[in-house]
């Protein structure tokens, strides 16, 4: 079994979260962008509200550009990808050069998209590389704990994002099942009472999205730490 320091387990977890954030926000962005083509210009305001990010954009064109590519904007997809990269680059020994390469390729694809006159097409390559990254995580990382921490971060982020976007309960339940499967394979310490509460919350018909998000954010707050 691999030995992993607290610092590296944290980086594995955030690698999973940021890679998922890039993937899912890109997917959602593409759907919103498509709607905005038909002049529903207020779409991006709703998007920002649901994502709980400040609406600093002046128009749909400004949103399309800066939400995707603004290096100075901590909420941009670009910044999230760079955070994934920052975590991946220090994990070469745990995840391997082949796995790390797909995050690097996603960064190159993002930089190409930034200067492209057809950015949506190029952004597809970013998503493709993230998908390939997840595939190779499964295929080439032998250590179950390393693999599981990355995937646990990914699952947690997905429930968080889906909840923010008020997705249907069936979608969130499906992700919760995957989350439950993964969490016990990580070796991470978490608040069992909160996990039970989360499982209860996703089963009720009218989802309390805000509480789900809050419980996810505080899942690592242990009772004995208080």
């Amino acid at each position: 079994m691999a030995i992993i320091s607290a610092e590296h387990s944290d980086q594995l977890y955030w690698l999973g979260r940021y890679s998922e954030r890039v993937y899912t926000t890109l997917k959602i962005f593409e759907d919103h962008f498509d709607s905005m083509i038909d002049l529903k210009t207020e779409e991006y305001e709703d998007f920002c509200r649901k994502q709980d990010i400040p609406n600093i954009y002046t128009s749909k064109d400004d949103f399309s550009r800066r939400y995707c590519f603004d290096e100075e904007n901590p909420n941009s997809i670009y910044s999230n990808l760079m955070r994934a990269y920052d975590n991946a680059i220090v994990l070469r020994e745990e995840i391997g050069s082949e796995t790390l390469a797909y995050i690097q390729l996603a960064v190159y694809a993002m930089n190409r998209a930034k200067t492209s006159d057809a950015p949506l097409i190029q952004l597809q390559r970013v998503r493709d590389n993230i998908v390939a990254f997840w595939g190779i995580v499964d295929d080439s990382i032998d250590s179950e704990s390393i693999r599981s921490i990355i995937k646990f971060g990914k699952r947690l982020e997905r429930i968080d994002l889906y909840s923010r976007m008020r997705m249907e309960s069936a979608e969130i339940r499906r992700e919760m099942n995957r989350f439950n499967f993964r969490i016990n394979r990580t070796g991470l310490r978490y608040n069992k009472r909160k996990l039970a509460h989360l499982n209860y919350l996703v089963e009720v018909n009218a989802l309390d999205y805000e509480t789900i998000i809050r419980e996810l954010e505080t899942l690592f707050e242990l009772e004995e730490d208080k």
């Binding site: 320091s5 607290a6 590296h8 220090v90 790390l100 390469a101």
Partner: protein
């Protein structure tokens, strides 16, 4: 030798190097940037017999340097016998008083040595510099070879070339040889270090754990790695890629936040191996370089196989006279500088600059060495579809386990500027693979 076949794959291999993040870090205007290290497909080729000669000389040199460090922090016979003046020991920045009387595990100080050589137009090899602190660069030809083999396997089928991908095995053997019991780790200052790619790649390839100082702790006279569940795992060998002064704030620079408090105390007790040993800088000072052939004679009773570049020490009056007389044909090096900095070509200075420099030289003669400018044998690079000559050096790696081992390859760095002798990556240089022929 079939190297032409490689030309067509230049872009492919450089793209693959980018894919795997083969970069080095550089600070420009206090901003950290990662840069790709340009790779040239035309290898430096060293014939089997020629490399056997280099191997003999390199082993001899590293053995003598190791004896020198042992002596300096021990009996100091070489100083007492008047071979090396004490000013060159104690005034140098590499000497550490804290290392006096400390013997590292198995008496090895320089586990990984990077020896820089150049080849003159007369085909004679000259040693330019010994790097015994934390020499870097082996990872670049390792990964480049991997990608070249993938790009054009037939080239490697048709040429009998020593496989250089065994560097990780040699390094692991070196680390295991001195391990005092426990895990082996590579200690890095972190991702904003210029050589971070190398730290992480060598960790991956050797199976050592890549750590920063905050992940290790000294307790009960032993070193431990703390895992994420809080369990402490013993560590027996640390291949440290941070400088002596930052290694332990309790023993060296107290402002260091990247070191491990008290690691030097337990090293002194023999409870952990540090590769390379602290204090090695005493032997790779540019001023000490002058004395290496004398050391070989003194410790091993042998003539040096490999020659130094003709060097003068302005510290000695007759050498100062020579330097003043032949200033325009010499290159002067500040012994405290590295990385291609602090190098002055006499003929490149304006009259004012020369006057200023000569005043400095007379005031601080110990600070500089002077060398004849070696007429490098240019080697070809492939650039913009053409083959063109450039200056290049070779960093050879010698690893010391139960015996000295010379890696059958090396990092060949070249200047991308046709008028420059400076090959350092930090100054825009590129690199090549080094093929040592097996037959």
């Amino acid at each position: 030798m079939e190297t032409e076949r490689l030309f067509g794959y230049s872009d492919t291999v450089n793209e693959l190097l980018a894919r795997y993040g083969v970069k080095f870090g550089i600070y420009k205007n206090n901003v950290f940037k990662e840069q790709l290290f340009p790779f040239d497909m035309i290898p430096r080729v060293i014939e089997k017999q020629e490399f056997a000669f280099l191997e003999k000389g390199l082993k001899q040199r590293v053995l003598a340097l190791n004896e020198f460090i042992k002596d300096i922090y021990g009996d100091k016979k070489i100083v007492r016998d008047g071979i090396v003046p004490e000013e060159f020991i104690y005034a140098g920045s590499g000497y550490l008083a804290q290392c006096e009387g400390v013997m590292p595990p198995k008496g090895i100080y320089s586990h990984i040595s990077g020896i820089d050589l150049v080849q003159g137009k007369d085909k004679q090899w000259y040693i330019l510099e010994d790097n015994l602190r934390i020499p870097s660069g082996a990872s670049y030809p390792m990964i480049a070879r991997e990608l070249c083999r993938r790009s054009t396997p037939i080239t490697f089928e048709k040429n009998a070339i020593e496989d250089n991908r065994n560097y990780a095995k040699l390094l692991r053997r070196t680390m295991d040889h001195v391990n005092t019991g426990g895990h082996t780790v590579i200690l890095s200052p972190g991702r904003y270090n210029a050589a971070y790619f190398e730290h992480s790649y060598l960790a991956e390839k050797t199976g050592a754990h890549l750590v920063t100082g905050s992940e290790l702790v000294v307790e009960n006279d032993h070193l431990y790695f703390i895992d994420y569940s809080g369990k402490k795992e013993p560590v027996g060998a640390v291949y440290r890629r941070i400088s002596d002064e930052y290694l332990d704030p309790m023993n060296f620079n107290e402002e260091s936040v990247i070191g491990i408090p008290h690691i030097y105390d337990i090293y002194r007790k023999g409870n952990v191996a540090l590769l390379n040993a602290p204090g090695n800088g005493v032997a790779d000072d540019k001023g000490i370089y002058y004395f290496v052939p004398k050391m070989i004679q003194y410790y091993l009773g042998e003539e040096a196989v490999l020659q130094n570049a003709p060097t003068y020490l302005p510290y000695y009056k007759e050498d100062m006279d020579y330097v003043l007389e032949h200033f325009d044909s010499l290159v002067l090096k500040d012994v405290a500088e590295a990385g291609g900095y602090g190098i002055v070509f006499g003929n490149k200075l304006t009259r004012e600059e020369k006057e200023h420099f000569l005043a400095l030289l007379k005031e601080q003669p110990r600070r500089f060495i002077a060398q004849e400018v070696i007429d490098f044998l240019d080697i070809d690079i492939y650039e913009n579809g053409e083959v063109t000559p450039r200056k290049a050096d070779l960093r050879a790696f010698v690893l010391m386990a139960d015996e000295p081992m010379v890696w059958k390859s090396g990092l060949t760095r070249f200047s991308r500027n046709p008028d420059s002798f400076i090959v350092n990556s930090s100054q825009g240089g590129g690199f090549k693979d080094t093929w040592v022929m097996a037959e």
